[in-house]
Symmetry: C2
Subunit: 236 residues, 2 copies
């Protein structure tokens, strides 16, 4: 079976107002679009692997991606997610290194690939864009360090609660305002929280029994966000 690329507009017509590049002028957008490739990845497919040489910057045109690193004994640790409008791979590109994480589509996903050279030359000639990148990286760093503290000190229960809140913050709810707008497996929740699948299941089961969440098949509903925040022991 073969998957066809959806028709993806050039950066100039992209029209995603939330987008990182939206303040560039037309000629810069054109430069980004040069040789830009649109690609489709079916749920579960890998966009790139940790350790691969960098070939470019990815924009998520539509979909959801998990970025994970391999740890001990090959266990996956999810370090962040990217959703529609987000960029992937900029850190490695900017630092002239190979990709430091593996990117896997967790929903059917369309991405634009902007070749390395095009991206870097636009960055080098656009100080305002540099400043935006600085902010983006600063923010990522803040999140990573906070995540670090959480993983280092919190119990499994607290981390699972937090993971659910992260999923909500990232992907939001469906129209019912309680069901998470993303499908993740129990194993993926475990990989976010840095625990085992079994522990994740048991903890989710406990929250379910307590009425804080509701599990129906792959659907996860957060019934009581305040209680989750309390369980996560966050003070922010």
């Amino acid at each position: 079976m073969k998957y066809k690329s959806k028709e993806i507009p050039s950066c100039k017509e992209c029209g995603k107002t939330t987008h990182f590049f939206c303040h560039l002028n037309d000629s810069e957008k054109e430069q980004l679009s040069l040789h830009k490739g649109g690609n489709f990845f079916k749920k579960g497919q890998t966009i790139f692997y940790e350790g691969n040489h960098t070939f470019g910057l990815f924009c998520v045109y539509e979909g959801a991606v998990k970025l994970s690193k391999l740890g001990k004994d090959g266990k996956e640790q999810i370090v962040r997610f990217a959703k529609t409008g987000d960029l992937i791979g900029y850190r490695s590109l900017l630092n002239q290194e190979s990709y430091q994480a593996t990117a896997i589509a967790i929903e059917d996903t369309y991405v634009c690939l902007i070749p390395k050279g095009n991206f870097l030359s636009v960055v080098e000639n656009n100080p305002a864009l540099s400043l935006k990148l600085i902010k983006l990286l600063s923010n990522d760093l803040k999140n990573a360090e906070q995540h670090l503290v959480d993983v280092a000190q919190k119990t499994v229960k607290e981390r699972i609660a937090e993971s659910l809140l992260v999923l909500k913050a990232t992907f939001g709810y469906l129209e019912d305002k309680t069901t998470l707008n993303i499908h993740v497996t129990r194993a993926e929740i475990a990989d976010m929280a840095g625990t085992t699948t079994e522990s994740a299941i048991r903890t989710l089961g406990q929250f379910n029994d307590e009425g804080i969440i509701s599990l129906t098949g792959k659907k996860i509903q957060l019934l009581n966000e305040a209680a989750l925040i309390r369980q996560s022991n966050s003070f922010d």
Copy 2:
């Protein structure tokens, strides 16, 4: 008792070749130096607290600083160190936020304080510096994410071994090529590794018994680095 500021040169004469600002021209260095303050912090003193409003960028002229965040129940988590020539506080400044970590001198330390505005205006007018900052941040992010994976998946023993290696990579050895060139308490090692003081002590004792390290008072000697790397279960 009062501490006097050591005479610290202006940025123009700083002369630290490893320094982040060394490629700036004289007028830019002069701008940084304007209203620059030199400050002395005795071992144990706090340079700034997590949550404080940012007032500027710190350069460590000489000394060693730990950057830590408060976690659950007020437990400290060390997120990184800064030594002679390193910068502190740039992440928060660049992201226009309050400081996200507490900085405490772990040795007698001289720092220069470059006021917020001076730093930001030099950055905004110097694209090359922006690119350097981007690299710095990218690198910090890489380290933070790797640290995250380690803390999430490794055992206490592995993390303690790794913490010792981090201390070595950061502060190096004394002339004997085995003794760590920094004094840290057992509690601080625990705060690096995300464990308790008691567990840190027991693990260090075990390494000591196995002849991998040698503990004499506050001195820590790494006798067998290869074994430590093996213990840390790192594959990099």
